[in-house]
Each structure stands twice: as C-alpha cells, then as structure tokens.
C-alpha cells in the first residue's frame, strides 16, 4: 500500500518504514518556543542537563506579551535573552519581529519535508509549505533541547478535497471555519489533515497558513498542503520538485471530505467555541466594542490588503476600537510601502506592534466585562481575551473590517 505524506516524512526521519499508528522516536529539524522559553529553560536544572544538544535547531521568538506588559513579563524576557546568549542560540527573534508561526514560514525554517515541533498549538501553520509541523508541551520542548529527540505517533490522515473557486468576498478563513463547524472541534483529533485542491494555485502560501493554523482547532496533529510550485516559488526555488512528498495515489485515508469552494459564504464562529459557526448574515446586527485584525491566523499582508479594500475612504464606527497587529515587522513594512498603513489609519484604526496582541488576553486590548470583540484570531474560548463575561466572534479579515465600520457584525459582500 502507498504512503501518506506523514508516513513519508516519518519514514525518512526514522530511516525505516513507518506506518500510521506506530510510535517512533525522531529528531526534529527545529524546535520552536516563544515567551514560554522562560518557563522551559527552568526545566534544564530539574532534568539535570546544562546545555542544548543542538542549539542550531532551537528557534526562539518573543511575541506573546511583547513589549513586556509588566515587570514579571519583562523579567521573563530578560531571562530568555540571557539564556539564548549563553546557549549560543542564534535563531532568536526579539520583541517586534513578529508572531512565532509567521517567523517560521517567513524565515524559511519551515521547508518541505522538515519535521518541526513547537511548544505552541498553532505550530501546525508551517504545514502550509509542506513541513510536518506539530505542537508539543513545554517539558517535551525541554526534552528535545537536551536529547535532540522525542516520541511521536505517526498520525492517520484525513483528506479534505476542494473543488471550484472561492467567491471574491469569501476567504480561506471562511472555508476553515466552515470546515470546523462541519466536523467539530474534535473532528480531526490525533489526525493529519491533508488539504488538496483541483487547482492548488488558487491558494497562496498565506491562505494555506490560515488552513493549517486552524487545523489545530479541528484537533489535528498537523495540517498540510503537499508542497508544489506555489511553495517552490515562495521559497525562491522555482522549478524545485517536491513531488516525492505527495501522498501516494493508493495511500490510506481514514476519512475523506469534499467541499465545493463556490458554496463557501462568510461565516462567524460565535462564543465560546470555534465550532459554533454560523453564516455572518445570521449574526448581523450584534453590537461590537472591539475589532481585531492580526494574529498568526490572519495578520499577513494579504489580510491587510483585504481590510484596506473594505476600509478605504470609510470610517470605523465611533464606538469601536479597531486594533491592527501585523504578523511580522516584514508585513508591517510592506503595509507601509503599499499605503495600507495610511488607509487604515485614516479610517480610524490603531496600529499596534507585530506580535500576538490581545489574542491571549494578557495585554494590549483586553476586554472588559460585557464587551464583544470580532477578531481574525483562531480561538474564542470564554475569557480568552480578558474578562470571562466578554465575547469573542471569529471571522475573516473582510468581515472584521466590515463589522468595524458598521459597529456591529456585518457580512462583507457589499465591498467586493
């Protein structure tokens, strides 16, 4: 029987034939940590190890509470800076460089066939360029630092086949949320999710990152698009052939689902679960206090361009704070060059620093009791963005921008 992408990556890493369901010990190519590096580094003395086995495989990005919100966070950041210097970790990105998952792809750590593990659930994002990328826990990250390896179970694969074409006002985010609404937050638990499309080139690397990011919200271990010409171009390696990583035609899928992209409508995930998905029109009129554009899910230049189309020449509602967090400094610079910074600023948006922002509720735009926020992020759990009595609605950049103007949830069709 043929092999899936995941079985191929596991087999090549293990140096032997590995099939879904087997537990094997593998050496990841990169191990990603962020602000949690401060907690992870404290585990070294507990383990009784002093040094990283492969400092060149560690990637450390400060993004979660940056710049430091208070002296506790500042002390954590300080301890991380001392640690990366002492351990000789060169792949270090300090405050303001961007969200860790964006950095992994943007700086090309994520590469076809690479095994990437990260102490963050949305490490799956790197599957967009054909890496096998999965989230792990903190102690495991410390374990990889000092041993170079970790036990992993090779996942079964679920295939999502996409046909047709998205409408101008629908996006990869709407597709991902629709999918989560259909299969549920546990619909892909333990599994690899393979996205495949008749005409893959309609999905940019940015779109693929949205889908692979949200694979984590389906419970998946990893999500990926088989690396193709779009990926080769993105990596500046036009003409490179990654077809050996594609799942074989006779590979075994545990489940297959098909979607017609032409039927995807703008949708919103209502509080307090990512799979509580409704058509945007059904929630239209729900008053919002804050709108958030950014995060590892939708903070890329493509997302900001979409927001600029909606916001050009218009004004954010007087009772709404529209916060914009570019996913990286590179994205921010590009938005500046393209005039998007000005367009959004003129509309009344607040430009914030690259980073996670209020996505995890620790700073920079936390919500008060009774407030509602519409956000391009990936989670709307109770209390995640601040007070437990606040509400988070998840939507596409277009829907978030349209809602910011309306002051209430509003579908974006009329702007396209």
């Amino acid at each position: 029987m043929g092999k899936t992408f995941s079985e191929k990556v596991f087999s090549s890493k293990a140096g032997r034939d590995v099939s879904a369901g087997e537990i094997v010990t593998l050496e990841p190519d990169y191990i990603l940590t962020h602000d949690n590096t401060a907690a992870i580094l404290k585990k070294l003395p507990e383990i009784g190890a002093a040094r990283l086995k492969y400092p060149e495989r560690a990637v450390v990005v400060l993004d979660h509470v940056t710049p430091a919100a208070d002296s506790t966070h500042a002390a954590n950041h300080k301890s991380i800076r001392a640690f990366v210097a002492e351990q000789g970790i060169n792949n270090f990105y300090d405050v303001g460089r961007g969200v860790c998952h964006q950095i992994m792809v943007e700086e090309h750590y994520a590469y076809p066939g690479k095994l990437i593990l990260g102490s963050d659930s949305h490490t799956t994002t790197a599957g967009a360029v054909g890496a096998f990328a999965a989230g792990i826990g903190r102690t495991e990250a410390a374990g990889i630092w000092v041993t170079g390896e970790l036990w992993l179970r090779c996942p079964e694969t679920m295939r999502i086949s996409l046909s047709g074409k998205l409408r101008s006002y629908a996006s990869a985010k709407d597709l991902a949320l629709t999918l989560i609404g259909r299969i549920g937050a546990d619909g892909a638990i333990y599994r690899a999710v393979e996205f495949s499309c008749e005409n893959d080139d309609q999905f940019s690397v940015s779109d693929r990152m949205v889908l692979c990011n949200l694979a984590a919200e389906m419970g998946a271990k990893n999500g990926y698009f088989a690396p193709d010409e779009t990926v080769a171009e993105y990596l500046g390696e036009t003409g490179s052939d990654f077809s050996h990583l594609r799942s074989d035609a006779d590979a075994h899928y545990i489940e297959e689902l098909a979607f017609n992209l032409a039927e995807i409508e703008p949708v919103v995930a209502a509080p307090h679960a990512v799979d509580n998905v409704h058509p945007a029109v059904e929630l239209a009129g729900k008053r919002i206090d804050q709108a958030l554009l950014g995060t590892c899910t939708n903070g890329r230049i493509e997302d900001l361009r979409t927001a600029a189309i909606v916001l050009e020449g218009r004004t954010v509602s007087s009772h709404v704070r529209l916060l914009v967090f570019p996913a990286s400094a590179k994205v921010y610079r590009q938005a500046l060059d393209e005039g998007i910074v000005r367009t959004l600023l003129d509309a009344g948006a607040v430009w914030m620093n690259p980073g996670c922002g209020p996505c995890l509720g620790a700073h920079e735009g936390a919500l008060a009791p009774g407030e509602a926020c519409i956000s391009t992020a990936n989670r709307n759990f109770k209390g995640r963005m601040g007070h437990p009595d606040s509400e988070i609605y998840l939507a596409s950049p277009a829907t978030v921008a349209a809602s910011a103007i309306a002051g209430e949830i509003a579908p974006p069709e009329e702007y396209f």
Binding site: I47, T139, V146, T147, D186, A273, L360, K382
Partner: protein, 160 residues
C-alpha cells in the same frame, strides 16, 4: 476509591486553567486553586486526593499549557477518563505523570459523585458501576508514566 467529577465535551484548557494566570502563577499548589474555576468554581474546594475526572470528547482542547494538567494533578486528581483527549493535552498528561485514559464505555456508565479508581498495571478502572479494562499503554509511554513524568524520566537518563 475516589470521587468522580463529571463534565461534558470539549472541556478546554482555558477553563482547566485560565490563560490570564499562565505567566503569573508558577507554584503548582497555587495552580491547583484555579483548576476549573471558570467551569466549576466548586471543584477546587471540594476535590480530594484520589479523585477522578470523567468527561466527554476532546478533553483538554485549546492551548498547549501544561498548567492545565498540573492544576489537576496538584489538586489531587489521580486519573482523567474521557471519551477522547485533545492530543497535546494527552501528551502533557503522560509527560506530567497524570494517567489519561480514553474509555468511552466508562464515561457513559459513570455519573458525577460515583466512585472510581484506576489500576494502570492491571489495565483496569474499578468503579462503583463495574470494572472497565483497557489495552496496556505503549512501552515508551508506560516508561514515562512509571518514572512519574518526563522530567523524572529524563533525570534518570542524564544521571546515568
């Protein structure tokens, strides 16, 4: 035997241990005081050593924070039995030495307030509603649980 605390599907890491405390609370016993506070405020006050959590599907979905496991472990919980687990949470349980058992039959049989006890070596959960057996864990996983968690397992490795 311990008391069963029963919850529904999709118990997420934000209700297991609120995200707002992740960077401010580092003492595991203090973490235990916040366990499940946004879902069941009575839990942290009523739980006793030896108690067991029983829940529906996708237990521990959400973030990769280990506090969501440690808060339960240090509150005295000796096993979590669920229909299914979110995968990072499952890994974190093993690596923190808290047995996580996917046993849908036990979940449907048990109610809040029942009594239960997990015997890993025997591969059985004994309860006031009968016994439920499970296949032994893979050796890599059992070795980590036997050591009491990944830290202890690695410490032995580095002490060699």
């Amino acid at each position: 035997m311990g008391r069963v605390f029963k919850y529904g599907d999709d118990v997420n890491t934000d209700v297991l241990f609120p995200g707002k405390h992740t960077y401010t609370v580092s003492d595991p016993l203090e973490m235990a005081q916040h366990a499940l506070e946004d879902l069941d405020p009575a839990f942290a006050k009523e739980v006793k050593p030896g108690d067991i959590i029983v829940a529906g599907s996708n237990f521990g979905c959400g973030s990769s924070r280990e506090q969501a496991v440690l808060a339960l472990k240090y509150a005295g919980v000796t096993a979590v039995i669920a229909e299914s687990f979110a995968r990072i949470y499952y890994r974190n349980c093993i690596n923190s030495g808290l047995p996580a058992l996917a046993l849908p039959e036990a979940v449907s049989a048990l109610n809040d307030g029942d009594e239960a006890e997990a015997d890993l070596a025997a591969g059985v959960v004994k309860t006031s509603k009968g016994d439920f057996s499970f296949a032994p864990l893979p050796p890599e996983v059992q070795a980590i649980l036997d050591a009491g968690g990944l830290i202890e397992y690695l410490r032995k490795r580095f002490a060699r």
